[in-house]
């Protein structure tokens, strides 16, 4: 079984999203949220009886329709489906697969050092900045709290379902708000240390649309994992995470133009521009 299949088969036994109809492409929780919010908007807009009210009614009705039918045209256009995928997985529960990330990094430590650091899941928030905390609640079970979209905290329980000491750790969510599965493999790279290969799959809270929006806004999950792995490397190789927060700058709220004994010679851009530079040191 390939590494990837290992993860894709990590089905979540407690996921609630079921696809009853081929036309449904909105997840169940999202449908409820849409229906409630849409209904409220429609009523509020209708009472308002202005142009703004009319627009709100239209928008609310669309959301209500989306919630009631479970079908979203925007998702259709974007090729997104946040409900379960019937065609792919007929008999078993849906899996974490909206977002699939594979990243690797070489770290100058032994596979056993890396395995031991990672296997203590409580270490993960030290380099995964989107994690608020991970608490181990048993040998193979842990409780994860992460920072979701818009600063909202999301929580889930996870279990280690496969591991080989110093080689592999694979985990998946059990119950909670985010369906996800991940694995990390440690490959001996001789003098260079260890190649760490991470595979993550998850269904983002708020559906795939939120992942799409997050990507647009720069919170790209692949980049995030790359940065996480870089921080892991920094902790283990350099003993600290490179950081410039809290440094002084002229942007600081307390920063002021310095009063000097003599006013510095004023230099204007035009003066400077008119002369060319040659060799620079």
């Amino acid at each position: 079984m390939s590494f990837n299949q290992e993860i894709l088969s990590a089905n979540n036994p407690n996921s609630a999203n079921r696809d009853e109809s081929g036309n449904i492409n909105v997840g169940e929780i999202e449908r409820v949220v849409c229906a409630v919010a849409g209904g409220a908007l429609a009523v509020y807009g209708f009472r308002n009886r202005t142009l703004k009210g009319l627009l709100l009614t239209v928008a609310g009705t669309a959301l209500l329709h989306r919630g009631a039918t479970g079908h979203c045209n925007t998702y259709d256009l974007l090729g997104i489906r946040t409900s379960g995928d019937k065609t792919r997985n007929e008999t078993s529960e849906p899996v974490a697969k909206d977002i699939h990330i594979e990243k690797s990094i070489t770290i100058g430590k032994s596979p056993s050092e890396l395995y031991n650091f990672w296997r203590d899941f409580e270490n993960l928030p030290k380099f995964m900045t989107h994690l608020e905390s991970v608490r181990c609640v048993g040998l193979n079970r842990s409780h994860w709290i992460a920072k979701g979209p818009a600063g909202k905290l999301v929580e889930w329980d996870a279990e280690v379902y496969n591991e080989k000491p110093n080689e592999l750790i694979a985990w998946r969510s059990l119950e909670g708000e985010v369906t996800n599965a991940g694995s990390v493999r440690f490959e001996d790279a001789g003098e260079r240390g260890t190649v760490v290969r991470v595979v993550l799959n998850y269904n983002a809270p708020g559906g795939k649309l939120s992942a799409f929006v997050a990507k647009l806004l720069g919170g790209e999950p692949g980049q995030m994992i790359e940065d996480d792995l870089r921080r892991l490397k920094q902790i283990l190789e350099a003993g600290e995470i490179a950081n410039v927060e809290g440094q002084p700058s002229g942007r600081d709220s307390q920063a002021r133009p310095a009063r000097t004994p003599e006013t510095p010679i004023e230099n204007t851009g035009e003066q400077v521009k008119s002369r060319a530079a040659t060799s620079l040191g």
Partner: protein, 389 residues
């Protein structure tokens, strides 16, 4: 404390800002005793380097006295006098262990940014844009130095600040440029640009055994310094055909190696130089590689072109065909300063070189904006400005 802050193109100001604090366990805080304006600071001043933010503190050539150390710094204590390399290196990664200190994997907090532009990120640098780490620079009264147990070199003897300050950048940079030429006895080295790095490249080429060094510039005072202090033969590119002259001077063979100590803002008098300036003015290109084109063109077959001059992004009309046809070796990159500090400090102590010869201007930090303008315009025959906080 007072610090020289960047606010935009041709706009640097001295601001009162909060003093730096220890952020990480390997940090130290240095009270700056002497700092300098580097030619590469002028690339920031001229707005050529991306990812600068208003208020950034500049300066990557500085030295001073340790006033505070983080919990993991064992080799320094308050009162120690140190010179600080402009590249920040962790000392433990694959690259640091190979002595490729400026390629350190672990010191750029914004490595993702540099990766987008360059594929991989180099080390963090002081005061040189956010893509290079966003570290506050040393043209200030105090500066935070990360990995203080790895970079700073203690100065234990009676050498003056001005004699050792340039171990932070330009002396190692000029030296590495010459070392990259793999100089053999009898070699002729041509150096484009007689700014401080070019001058140190000239001196270093002789230290490494070059028979002749030919210095190329158009500023008479710089050519004079190259001749008087560097012992180089000189050539004014505004008055002579550089390629032909080099060919004649080397008996038709060409220089064995060529050093481009000019970088991305070269200017020249030939057609391609005007083309570069026009394109840069129209924002159609970022770098103006006139000196580099000329160096590649002039270099002998099988020779080496060494590039200590800074390049930022993309080059137009790059004569790779000439480099290929002649089988040239091109070497370049940010200086692995850490590697050179001790051997070059030894040379200063032995009296083989006194780097303070490049200094033409001494000013207070408060006057730094005027220092930038003077250096930029080469007013008053300015070659190197040192600042006293």
């Amino acid at each position: 404390m007072k610090a020289l802050c960047w606010f935009g193109k041709y706009d640097v100001r001295v601001y009162d800002v909060p003093e730096p604090k220890i952020i990480n366990p390997h940090d130290a805080i240095i009270k700056v005793t002497t700092t300098a304006i580097c030619g590469s600071d002028l690339h920031l001043y001229d707005g050529y380097i991306p990812t600068m933010q208003k208020g950034d503190i500049l300066g990557h050539e500085f030295m001073g006295e340790v006033v505070e150390v983080g919990s993991a710094v064992r080799n320094l204590k308050p009162g120690d006098r140190v010179v600080v390399p402009f590249t920040i290196a962790c000392g433990n990664c694959f690259f640091c262990r190979k002595e490729c200190w400026s390629a350190c994997d672990n010191t750029n907090p914004n490595a993702g940014m540099a990766e987008t532009l360059y594929g991989y990120s180099g080390s963090g640098l002081f005061g040189y844009s956010h893509m290079m780490g966003g570290y506050a620079g040393g043209q200030a009264e105090y500066v935070r130095v990360p990995f203080a147990d790895v970079g700073p070199k203690k100065i234990l003897n009676g050498l003056t600040d001005e004699q050792v300050l340039f171990l932070s950048d330009i002396f190692p940079t000029g030296y590495m440029a010459a070392e990259n030429c793999d100089i053999k006895p009898g070699d002729t080295v041509a150096v484009w640009g007689c700014g401080p790095v070019g001058l140190f490249a000239i001196k270093s080429a002789y230290l490494l055994g070059a028979e002749r060094v030919i210095a190329i510039d158009d500023a008479p005072e710089r050519l004079r310094m190259a001749a008087e202090h560097g012992g180089a033969e000189t050539m004014n590119f505004a008055e002579e055909d550089v390629h032909d002259r080099l060919k004649q001077m080397t008996g038709g063979i060409g220089p064995d190696s060529c050093i481009d100590a000019v970088g991305l803002e070269a200017h020249g008098t030939t057609l391609d130089a005007f083309y570069d300036r026009a394109k840069a003015a129209l924002m159609l290109t970022t770098d103006r590689p006139h000196a580099l084109r000329q160096a590649i063109h002039a270099c002998r077959k099988g020779g080496t072109v060494s590039i200590p001059g800074v390049y930022g992004a993309f080059l137009d009309k790059f004569p790779l065909g000439a480099a290929f046809a002649k089988g040239l070796t091109l070497k370049m990159g940010q200086t692995h300063v850490h590697k050179y500090m001790q051997p070059l400090l030894d040379k200063i102590e032995e009296g083989a070189i006194d780097p303070s010869f490049v200094i033409t201007h001494r000013m207070s930090l408060a006057d730094a904006p005027a220092g930038y303008a003077t250096f930029k315009n080469k007013e008053q025959e300015c070659i190197k400005v040192v600042l006293k906080p």
